[in-house]
Amino acid sequence: MDRSCHLSLIIDLSPSQWHLSAQPTNPHPLSFQTFLSLVLTFLNSHIAAKHENTLAVFGALPGKSTMLYSSLDADSSNTNDPPADANSYRPFKFVNTIVTKNIQKELDLLEGLTEEPPVTLVGALTMALCYINRLAHPPPGSVATETTTEADARILILSVSPDLSASYIPVMNSIFSAQKLRVTIDVCKVYGEETVFLQQAAHLTGGSYIYLERRDAFLQYLTMSFLPPPSIRHMMAVPRQDKVDFRAACFCHKNIVDIGFVCSVCLSIFCSPVPVCSTCRTKFPMKTLQRLNASRPSIPPANGVSNGSPRPPSARPSQGMSASLR
């Protein structure tokens, strides 16, 4: 229980989404400046919670992911030390300066872009997982400290961008690797619509997904829900998402299906029996089609419309998948 823990924070740095979030027409406008200062406070409290706690910060930028801070590499690079300040605790100052400076640097690099490519959180997520894997396997030369090998690690994603349907497979792969590494993925949706992928990520790894309703209380959400490590979460009633939609959408019409027809070769899902798989071009035998058509439930399939559930954004890749198969 009293073990140190590692936190990998992933910040979604999409300029356009942050611009929208800061609009005064929103019920609770949150600008990036305010957001950053609150996040830095949260990071400081994580470091303060236990001396051995480690920290890594990743940024998901349009078309790029980068590491903004890592407590493992920061100690060695003493060259860019922040100026001494009598009024601040040195480790806090250190984290704050490096994170702010790196974000500034990355955002400056974006100046020249005319069009903003979508933010891919997956890149940052895979980097965070590789980093945690690195912590779990210290190089043989160095002295393996117990704190790094035994720490329970978690990932916190602060997301503002919508789901990217092309990244469905990598997201799912990352979720399964997180399960293998016993890493909890927490998600805080700061702005924008709910993302199904991240809901699934939090649910499958035992983390919590929180949609920020009162964005003026962001810091309170952070400290109350995401600061305690997963090992003591069961003693605190951390809000979790109980209802996660695991139903699949068919590849042909993007309908949510209850009963689907699945290609045995590439596992594409169709809402009605088809003679040829549209993804891998496999032809199915006539006999199965007849049998399946005969055994279909006589009631019209309730394609998620009749039971009134809203259609989530396409939870399945169709383009990315067919492209990679060709």
Partner: protein
């Protein structure tokens, strides 16, 4: 443990007493002597036997780093050797695990006994197998007293399968095994399966003999006809019929040399195999089919409790079969009422990495034109001085490059990306 005491048997209490005694005697020299003696006066058949601890060599400094690197390199080379051409894998698998429960399994040449070790590894195997093949099904048949015994029906639920072999006293090894009876029993349980799914048998065989009621070669040829793939892990030694069963049906055969090797042999069979051609009759075409599957609604923990159809217990959480509305405890499974295959979308997604694997990274042998100083994924600083005497297929700079995104990765991340993550961190951004 010194090698002299390996051959005799004793119970647990004796073991600890002996261990303490040996330690008390400051027996490092005595140990050394004993080992030397055992090496010199080993049995003739032990001469060709490579001990795992002999193949690992320390370098001059007494460190094992070189040996570990060599092991890693071997894994890399194996991955590079894998066929680059697209192969169609069977995602829907059916496997019958044939466990030898004969008296030969109570031998203690593997600690604690062959039987206990097999059970333990079988459990790990089943867990891992279902993890990688969520749409597959496993059945278990035991071989003892000259007959085949159905231990567990074909099931897609890991809990059911694990429960069947959880009670050790029900599987106590006794009598002679019968390969033919067990294979026939397993074969009959797979006869109804559709052609697009694989039919596989995995035999864990500790005995050197088999008592068969008829000609086992007839069983073999009917297995070939039914396109059943038989893989066998022998715990004792290679026998002709075992080797032939595997070779003729396209399976793999291995003799476990020690506990670790036994586990390796088993776990090699976990990734889905390439689909076999369905023979000349079907014109060499691979079979594919459309399957009907139900995607269930998940009930939240706060749902009113009701009886489930699988265990008849009151439960709040669970899944609802979309066709008949039956309440099920777990997915994936087959609905107990209407027989519909119940999966949820993450189960399908779990199989995607077999379909879209990450391309192997190339080895960086020169630092010309390299700009990055750290690993792209984990930000580990990379070496810029080549390390001496590296084996083939290993980068002297510890650098491996993705051909698509041209990012460099360290050894650790190379292994992690290909074995666990299954997506390249560079290509996703």
């Amino acid at each position: 443990m010194n090698s002299g005491s390996d051959s005799d048997s004793f119970d647990e209490g004796d073991l600890t007493a002996r261990g303490r005694k040996a330690k008390g005697k400051s027996g490092s020299r005595a140990n050394e002597k004993g080992k030397q003696k055992a090496k010199d006066q080993g049995y003739a058949w032990e001469a060709t036997y490579t001990r795992s601890w002999d193949t690992v060599q320390e370098d001059e400094a007494g460190s094992l780093t070189g040996a570990v690197a060599e092991l890693l390199a071997r894994g890399r080379r194996r991955r590079l050797l894998a066929p680059a051409a697209a192969i169609r894998r069977t995602i829907i698998r059916h496997l019958v695990l044939l466990l030898d429960l004969s008296a030969a399994m109570s031998d203690r040449d593997m600690r604690p006994t062959r039987f206990d070790l097999s059970l333990e590894y079988a459990r790990e195997f089943i867990t891992e197998w279902f993890d990688q093949n969520p749409l597959g099904q496993i059945g278990i048949v035991g071989m003892r007293g000259g007959i085949g015994e159905r231990v567990c029906e074909m099931s897609g639920n890991p809990q059911d399968v694990l429960k069947a072999i959880s009670e050790r006293h029900k599987l106590e090894p006794i009598g002679e095994p019968s390969l033919q009876n067990a294979i026939e029993m397993a074969r009959s349980s797979m006869s109804h399966l559709p052609t697009h799914s694989s039919r596989e048998m995995l035999v864990i065989f500790g005995s050197l003999t088999t008592v068969d009621p008829g000609n086992i070669y007839e069983t073999l040829s009917s297995c070939v006809k039914d396109r059943i793939r038989i893989s066998l892990v022998a715990l004792a030694a290679e026998t002709k019929i075992c080797r032939e069963l595997c070779d003729k049906t396209g399976g793999t055969f291995g003799v476990a040399m020690n506990e670790g090797h036994f586990k390796d042999l088993l776990f090699e069979l976990i990734p889905p195999p390439a689909q076999q051609h369905t023979g000349a009759g079907a014109g060499g075409k691979m079979s594919a089919d459309l399957m009907m599957m139900g995607f269930p609604q998940r009930l939240p923990d706060t749902a009113p409790a009701a009886l489930c159809v699988c265990h008849a217990q009151m439960r709040a959480a669970g899944f609802l079969c979309p066709r008949c509305g039956a309440r099920l405890c777990d997915a994936p499974t087959d609905c107990d009422v209407c027989g519909l295959m119940i999966v949820s979308s993450p189960h399908l997604a779990r199989s995607y990495h077999h379909l879209f694997p990450v391309k192997p990274y190339s080895v960086v042998t020169t630092l010309d034109g390299v700009t990055s100083t750290t690993c792209h994924a984990c930000a580990r600083p990379l070496e810029d001085t080549p390390s001496a005497n590296v084996s083939e297929g290993v980068s002297p700079f510890d650098r491996y490059r993705c051909q698509d995104c041209k990012s460099d990765f360290c050894t650790e991340c190379d292994v992690f990306v290909h074995d666990v993550l299954h997506c390249c961190p560079g290509c996703e951004t």
